[in-house]
């Protein structure tokens, strides 16, 4: 391994480059009681607490999706009532966005890896980190309460005046849940920003950081700046709903478009909260399995920052037919094209990372390549939606549903799973069955396309979204989509099986099973509580995968 790292401060480099004096017990072995987990300040344990919580919510949201797809296999509303259907898609959206996707990579992989990747012993504010998790749980409780009380039917977008005056469901409970969980996001973001600024190891300058860290940093900036606006917007909805104070409802003198502007000002940047960390994960994985530094590292870092900044300027593209002015529409459309450019450059750079590489196809790489493919399709359809005249026909139809599922599910969830598979040995100290994992990744890719590609055609054909019943000519494509969902569900359930199996029966993982660069691989798998025996000192750029002079090929398995 040619990465320039030396042990600082009295430590020694082990045979495989690990920094360890005497290998201490792993963080998993520091206390076995539930109490030791619930009162931990260790970022690694907090990451696992989050992982368990969001997995639970992923499957609750997934259950709602399953019922939706079963209902949509026939044009009539024969499985559930209209009200129940409306509650199902609302809860699916609320849970998947706020209780799964937004925390997913940042709160699990980010929490676990950011300190390790920068050579720190923990985040800047460990108690705040634990508090973030408890706040997440509190917010989740409000939402679960709303579900138990009968659910909410406003759609995850809570458009006024339906949400403020007309819905008869427990809207305020869900508003409270999302409001509370927003603070969890904000505090996580604050923690990451401070950590990355102030706790990098000696020699680890900004342009030596792994792209995963850049991605977490940009995501944290969005978390910290956008989430407060959502919080206040939800408060205003509750104020209007409970007090009849006319902020959004025209009947009370309010402005319904004001709600949409405030809501989308947060919710557009929110989608970059969901996708930037995924891009960070993909960079790490592609570099490792292509054995190549990421092509155009600085460009990739600048692109991440550009996406985060431009993402704040395009919210009006959700409102092209809302009644906002033509002038506003044209400005937002142009800016939406600009924000697509850095994303496109990232796709080109990932492709170029494969060039002259030495590529192997373990499961993480399959997930990462799946991300690149599905994100490209999703991004292209985003461009189609940015075209004003086309959006008039396609907005509020299944075309939009397909577009955001390609990015969120095909993209972000694939990357999340890829990251889980890539860092699983580091986090748990175990190896899983790569054969089953590859099968799951391929099944997911095909199941995903089978489920969501027909939805693009449904949108073009004119099927609106949030429809419990639909015109009969849309049935064929809906059946295809529901059929694909079966494969998709299997693709999601499989990892639960073989990953759990690995915890019990998996082989013990070495410190660096993938022969990857990055400081996190220089410590044991799983790491000790304080991460490193000695603080590393970084002396060179990241992704030092360029093999040593010609002739020497480093074998992946069995290297001593």
């Amino acid at each position: 391994m040619t990465e320039a790292v030396r042990a600082g401060d009295g430590g020694v480099l082990g045979e495989r480059g690990e920094l360890a004096l005497h290998p201490p017990a792993s963080y998993l072995e520091e206390g076995f009681t539930i109490r030791s987990w619930l009162t931990t300040r260790d970022h690694k344990r907090i990451a696992i607490l989050y992982a368990l919580s969001i997995t639970l919510f992923f499957f609750i949201g997934g259950a709602a999706a399953t019922l939706i797809r079963i209902e949509l296999a026939t044009p009539n509303g024969d499985l559930v009532s209209a009200d129940t259907y409306n509650k199902l898609f609302t809860m699916h959206g609320v849970i998947m966005v706020w209780f799964f996707l937004i925390p997913s990579i940042p709160a699990t992989l980010g929490n676990f890896l950011v300190p390790l990747m920068i050579g720190a012993r923990d985040l800047a504010f460990p108690r705040l980190n634990l508090a973030s998790w408890y706040i997440y749980v509190a917010g989740a409780s409000f939402t679960v309460a709303a579900m138990i009380l009968g659910g909410v039917d406003t759609g995850w977008t809570f458009y006024a005046p339906f949400s403020t005056l007309y819905s008869n469901t427990h809207v305020v409970w869900v508003l409270a849940g999302v409001f509370v969980v927003g603070f969890s996001s904000i505090l996580t973001g604050l923690n990451f920003i401070v950590t990355i600024h102030t706790m990098r190891a000696p020699g680890l300058t900004w342009f030596r950081l792994p792209l995963f860290v850049w991605a977490q940093y940009a995501t944290s900036a969005i978390l910290v700046l956008a989430t407060p606006v959502l919080a206040m917007t939800l408060v205003l909805v509750a104020v209007e709903r409970l007090g009849g104070i006319g902020i959004f409802d025209p009947a009370l003198g309010g402005d319904p478009l004001l709600f949409q502007h405030l809501f989308w000002f947060y919710s557009h940047p929110a989608v970059y909260i969901m996708v930037l960390p995924a891009m960070g994960v993909v960079s790490e994985i592609v570099a490792c399995f292509a054995r190549n530094p990421v092509f155009g590292y600085r460009t990739m870092a600048y692109a991440i920052i550009a996406i985060a900044m431009l993402g704040f300027l395009v919210w009006g593209h959700h409102m092209f037919v809302s009644g906002q002015s033509l002038y506003a529409g044209t400005v937002f459309s142009l800016l939406s094209f600009f924000v697509a450019l850095p994303s496109a450059i990232k796709v080109f750079n990932w492709t170029a990372t494969l060039w002259h590489g030495r590529i192997t196809y373990e499961a993480p790489m399959l997930y990462a390549l799946g991300f690149v493919g599905l994100f490209t399709i999703g991004g292209m359809t985003g461009l189609i939606l940015a075209v004003l005249a086309l959006d008039v026909h396609l907005t509020d139809t299944y075309f939009v549903v397909a577009h955001f599922h390609y990015i969120m599910v095909g993209g972000a969830v694939s990357a999340y799973l890829g990251g889980i598979h890539f860092w699983w040995p580091k986090i748990t100290g175990r190896l899983y069955s790569d054969r089953w994992a590859r099968f799951a990744a391929i099944l997911l890719f095909f199941g995903f396309n089978a489920t969501f590609f027909p939805q693009y055609l449904l949108g073009i054909a004119g099927m609106p979204r949030r429809y419990h019943e639909y015109a009969p000519e849309f049935q064929t494509l809906n059946v295809l989509s529901s059929g694909g969902a079966v494969l998709l569900a299997l693709g999601y359930l499989l990892p639960l099986v073989y990953l759990s199996w690995s915890l019990v029966r998996g082989a013990r993982a070495p410190a660096n099973p993938w022969d990857a660069t990055g400081l996190e691989w220089r410590t044991a798998s799983p790491p000790p509580k304080r991460n490193f025996a000695a603080v590393p000192v970084v002396e060179g750029p990241p992704y030092a995968y360029r093999p040593s002079p010609a002739g020497i090929v480093r074998a992946r398995e069995g290297t001593a």
Binding site: P161, F162, P250, P256, L334, H356, M380, A389, A471
Partner: protein
């Protein structure tokens, strides 16, 4: 369904939208396939164990070529983006500005029905009859929540908001029955808030209008309401500026008002369009005309959206020009 699952083209704008769609989909699909082909080619050529040249075998003099490639894949997409934006914006604006000879029709949405009214007084529920080739401008409002008037075959959609008017215009080019969908989630029966646009040949449409004529046209109904609600007590409707019955009340004359600029008490000038008329009835203190007192009572809560539209059509009839926002 035709290519790409598109519904039939049934409006003048539909063809423009479809050309744009084919172009953008074509280019994005081509680029996507090119990217995928490249990835697959690299994935095969550079797989571990193959004999292809690797990074360490390749001279560093490629740096300049690399930069040129990066510049190309930045600037070419940017140029394509700007082109797509411009074309889309042009069609978007074209779709928004109705021709001056468009017939005004009125739509009131409420959970979960579409109520439509022709100027001649014909009322329809969940169905709209129009003539082929005749431009139509829909003036729309909602009685409750936000809805959206969507006709896939026309490639047109416009949100319908409570408390204000939104407009959408089209010229149908094919006869037949075309889906009308509500496209903004509005509650329990959102997915049942559907209907049809029925496009007929002009002669058939004229006969249909005759056959469904109500007791009177919208303007005539509006005139009745104008008296019933007491508007005629204060507002003159004749150009000879005869004061209303209540001569002591100083109120603006409505003759020739529609479409004209109105100076307001605070110094600004607004156009007397549908929005202005509606707000004057419901929120009379909001925009007081210059030279007048804010003494008009509000009719909010006493008058329905349908009646407001009939009054507006009546007031429009008091103008000899049918000025349209350009």
């Amino acid at each position: 369904m035709s290519a790409l699952a598109l519904p039939p083209e049934a409006s003048t704008i539909a063809a423009h939208v479809d050309h744009l769609l084919y172009a953008v989909v074509g280019v994005t699909a081509a680029v996507t396939l090119a990217i995928f082909a490249t990835i697959i080619a690299f994935a095969i050529r550079y797989r571990a164990g193959s004999a292809a040249p690797r990074a360490e075998d390749v001279p560093a003099a490629q740096a300049r070529a690399r930069r040129r490639v990066e510049a190309a894949w930045t600037l070419v997409p940017l140029a394509l983006f700007v082109a797509a934006f411009a074309w889309g914006a042009r069609v978007y604006v074209e779709r928004a500005l109705p021709p001056s000879d468009a017939t005004q029709l009125f739509v009131v949405a409420k959970q979960w029905t579409w109520k439509l009214q022709h100027p001649g007084g014909q009322r329809e529920i969940d169905e709209l009859h129009v003539a082929r080739g005749q431009p139509v401008e829909l003036v729309m409002t909602s009685e409750d929540v936000i809805h959206s008037f969507y006709v896939p075959a026309f490639r047109l959609k416009q949100d319908v908001l409570p408390g204000r008017y939104t407009q959408m215009w089209f010229t149908a080019t094919e006869t037949g029955r075309f889906h009308l969908f509500c496209a903004e989630y509005c509650g329990t029966d959102h997915s049942r808030m559907r209907g049809d646009i029925v496009v007929m040949e002009p002669e058939d449409f004229a006969r249909w209008l005759e056959g469904h004529r109500g007791a009177s046209g919208m303007a005539a109904q509006g005139e009745v309401l104008f008296r019933e609600y007491g508007c005629s007590g204060c507002h003159a409707t004749q150009p000879s500026a005869q004061p209303g019955a209540n001569a002591s009340v100083h109120a603006p004359s409505l003759a020739g008002l529609y479409g004209r600029p109105v100076p307001l008490a605070d110094g600004s000038v607004v156009k007397a369009d549908e929005r202005y008329l509606r707000d004057s009835i419901l929120l009379p203190d909001k925009e007081v005309a210059a030279g007048y007192e804010a003494i008009m009572p509000s009719f909010a809560g006493r008058i329905g959206e349908d009646e407001i539209l009939e009054l507006i059509v009546y007031i429009e009839s008091l103008s000899d020009t049918k000025g349209r926002p350009q």
